[in-house]
């Protein structure tokens, strides 16, 4: 049985290789079917092995991968109570999205490339989830980044898409740098990269080191999970095909950061300051993204910001040490967000490629089934009582509330405010897209929606609505399952639990009421200045452009011109002019490039000799 563990990641890889090699020779539908079948098989293996993950779980050491002096990293997989549910979720949701993609991409000429990358992505994601040590996790981490880059820019002939892909890759790589530094630090201080070993040895770390590593991990996670301040790539990433948005930018890759923080939670909790920073970043991102989502006009951008906001909740949970709650929310969110994205893809198809929700409306009359599916997704997102989203969000908020102290009370306040905003924008979406009058331009030709695109929505809706059963408050299944890894949540008083549930329900109702008043039937009002600010994500891109990109470009221009060309015949010429003190005497240092190179050689040598003199005189 245990020997089957490597199959979980290898099956999607195999699918990818098969499609790459044979894809063009097989009938047009084959790539999609192979991709779906391999991922589904992987999910089946995952399910079959699930019982083995109880308690300590199982580890598979495949081969020695890196054996450098100082640290070693075997190529090993870890299937424990944390990774098993995550892997099951990833494979199951991916299988459904793959099925959807077979319909969505059915007429695209580059299907083969798409499914190769799509399967490769699942492989990389499973590496992150099942990694036994941080080196492997990092390989998966970079792998999902690369696949995401290639898939966002999938329709690369449009320069905007290619640019979005590149942006996503570069911004997430900023985070990767921090993760890599954290890894190196851990390797140097603990001498191991094994996840379990790190968590075990974490108490031995000095507090300052633990804080620094915690902050580095937070920045790494922020890049991948689109949290403040590295969040700007996610809305742009919606340039990719909808299945990509559903799989990568909702269900799996963006949650990798939250998963990392759960995975290394014992390490993170060594430093209360770092943990608090994680929680604060999570709460602030949740609020920021919810505000931005409220004013978006493109359906996929609304969902993108809402993803950012929900991942913020997960970080909040991880920062509070409520691993169970964070994982719970992660899984449930994956279900309903995939549902919403895929439904949005159907909606866009039905409006003939229209993306702007102010030009939709009235879809309920023609597509009842899709409407009810969307309602299920919206209810989960808004956290309507008894849906999965309700329980998972409450679990996180309860963890914040039961910590006590003004700081966590503040975070709780942010969380509850976000819950209200979430309800508003979810229902806004519902009203603008499905209810009221049809506002689409008459010349928009609806595409047909193939069955493959609607079938996967049903199980996701069911999972989203009833996902709460996994972890009902008061001794939930998932919390119990995670006992070997994470301390159970502190038991809160029943009064607090009920009060919180009531408050959350109230928020949903209030949000619904607000959205109904504002958006029911009426065409959206023209945009105000404040709304525009929120729509652009509080000008985050602009800010980055001004604060970072432009100075960086200017600096590199400066360096190319000055350092490469003029330091030698400019700066030094200036110095020489001072020496010669007869202005204009040395208008040019030399008029030939080899002379310039020789001069640089001489100068470099001079610097070295000077340094050697210094080291002789002052040893």
């Amino acid at each position: 049985m245990e020997a089957a563990l490597p199959l979980i990641p290898l099956l999607p890889l195999l699918g990818s290789a098969l499609i790459l090699l044979l894809g063009r020779r097989l009938p047009p539908a084959a790539p999609g079917l192979i991709a779906t079948a391999t991922v589904a098989a992987s999910a089946a293996v995952c399910l079959a092995l699930f019982p083995l993950s109880a308690g300590e779980g199982i580890r598979a050491r495949l081969f020695v991968w890196i054996a450098a002096e100082g640290f070693a990293a075997p190529f090993g997989l870890l299937f424990d109570p944390l990774s098993a549910p995550m892997a099951l979720m990833v494979t199951a949701v991916s299988a459904l999205i793959h099925l959807y993609a077979t319909g969505y991409m059915r007429e695209d000429p580059s299907r083969v490339r798409f499914f190769v990358l799509f399967n490769l992505f699942v492989f990389a994601m499973l590496l992150i989830v099942l990694a036994d040590n941080l080196a492997i996790l990092f390989v998966g981490w970079e792998g999902v980044g690369f696949c995401s880059y290639a898939l966002i820019g999938f329709w690369y002939r449009e320069p905007k898409n290619a640019a979005a892909g590149q942006k996503a890759f570069l911004v997430t790589r900023v985070g990767d740098v921090f993760l890599l530094i954290a890894m190196l630090w851990l390797a140097s201080d603990l001498g191991t990269l094994g996840i379990r070993e790190i968590n075990g040895a974490a108490p031995a770390l000095p507090p300052d080191t633990a804080t620094a590593i915690g902050v580095l991990l937070l920045l790494g996670a922020a890049g991948k999970s689109a949290q403040l301040p590295l969040m700007t790539w996610l809305p742009d990433a919606m340039a990719g095909p909808t299945p990509v948005s559903a799989l990568i930018h909702a269900a799996t890759m963006v949650t990798a950061g939250a998963y990392l923080l759960c995975r290394l939670n014992p390490l993170l909790l060594q430093s209360p300051a770092a943990a608090a920073a994680v929680a604060a970043i999570g709460a602030l991102t949740a609020l920021y993204a919810a505000l931005s989502a409220l004013f978006q006009r493109e359906i996929k951008r609304v969902l993108a910001y809402s993803t950012m906001s929900q991942v913020g909740y997960m970080l909040l949970g991880a920062g509070l040490g409520a691993v169970g709650a964070a994982l719970f929310h992660l899984i449930v969110h994956a279900f309903f967000k995939a549902l919403l994205f895929m439904a949005a893809g159907c909606v866009i198809h039905l409006f003939g490629g229209e993306n702007d929700i102010t030009r939709m409306g009235g879809l309920k009359k023609t597509k009842r089934a899709l409407f009810w599916l969307f309602v299920a997704g919206v209810l989960c997102l808004a956290g309507a009582p008894l849906t999965g989203g309700f329980f998972s969000k409450d679990a996180i908020l309860l963890a914040a509330l039961s910590r006590g102290g003004w700081f966590f009370a503040l975070l709780f306040g942010l969380g509850i405010a976000t819950a209200l905003l979430t309800a508003v924008y979810s229902f806004r979406l519902l009203y603008l897209v499905f209810l009221g009058e049809r506002r689409a331009s008459p010349d928009a030709h609806p595409h047909s929606v193939p069955r493959a695109m609607t079938v996967p929505l049903w199980p996701l809706a069911a999972l989203g609505l009833f996902g709460g059963l996994m972890n009902l408050p008061g001794g939930g299944l998932l919390d119990g399952w995670l006992l070997p890894l994470a301390a159970p949540p502190e038991p809160a008083s029943h009064a607090a639990e009920w009060a919180l549930a009531a408050a959350a329900a109230l928020m949903v109702l209030a949000g619904w009421a607000l959205a109904q008043r504002r958006y029911r039937g009426a065409a959206p009002a023209p945009e105000t200045g404040a709304a525009r600010a929120f729509r652009s994500g509080l000008f985050a891109d602009e800010l980055y452009q001004r604060a970072l990109v432009r100075p960086f470009k200017a600096f590199s221009r400066f360096c190319r011109r000055v350092v490469d060309g003029r330091v030698i015949d400019g700066g030094l010429e200036g110095g020489a002019r001072l020496l010669a003190s007869s202005g204009g005497w040395l208008s040019r240092l030399s008029n030939g490039s080899v002379s310039r190179y020789r001069l640089a050689l001489g100068l470099g040598l001079l610097g070295m000799l000077g340094w050697m003199m210094v080291s002789v005189l002052w040893p």
Binding site: L606, M612, M613
Partner: protein, 167 residues
Amino acid sequence: MNLVAFWIFGGTALLALVLCVTRRNAVHAVLYLLGAFLAIAAILFGLGAPLPAAWQVLVYAGAILVLFLFVLMTLHPPPAMKPRRARELVLPALVAAGNLAGALALVLAGSGGREGLPGYVLPPAALGRALFADAWIGVEAVSFLLLFAAVGAFWLGRREDPPKERP
């Protein structure tokens, strides 16, 4: 070697070298270099290296410099050394002078109170044994190096274009 003799030859070599590197006429420069090499050969002899001294005369002065002269004579028209304006020279000259001063200072920094070199003379036979018995692989490698240098020099220096490949 007597210290006075050493510095007489050394001074001669330095003077000739300075004259060599400042000439505009390349032939003159090569001739000054010849003088410097001969003075250095005398120093080598004095430092207990008779065979290198002889080779210094034979190969450096006799072969390499003659090769220089030979190439100079082949060039038509002979290379014109353009006069250079002093201002172009200031910075490179400063850098070069700085390097020279730094290097000399580093050598001087450790000197003082040292004894003279022991009277050590390596006879040619012993050198030959060391060269061909112990360092034989280096000799072989260098012989290949010379061969391929000749091949390369031949290729670069040939006048006509290479023959076309037969299909």
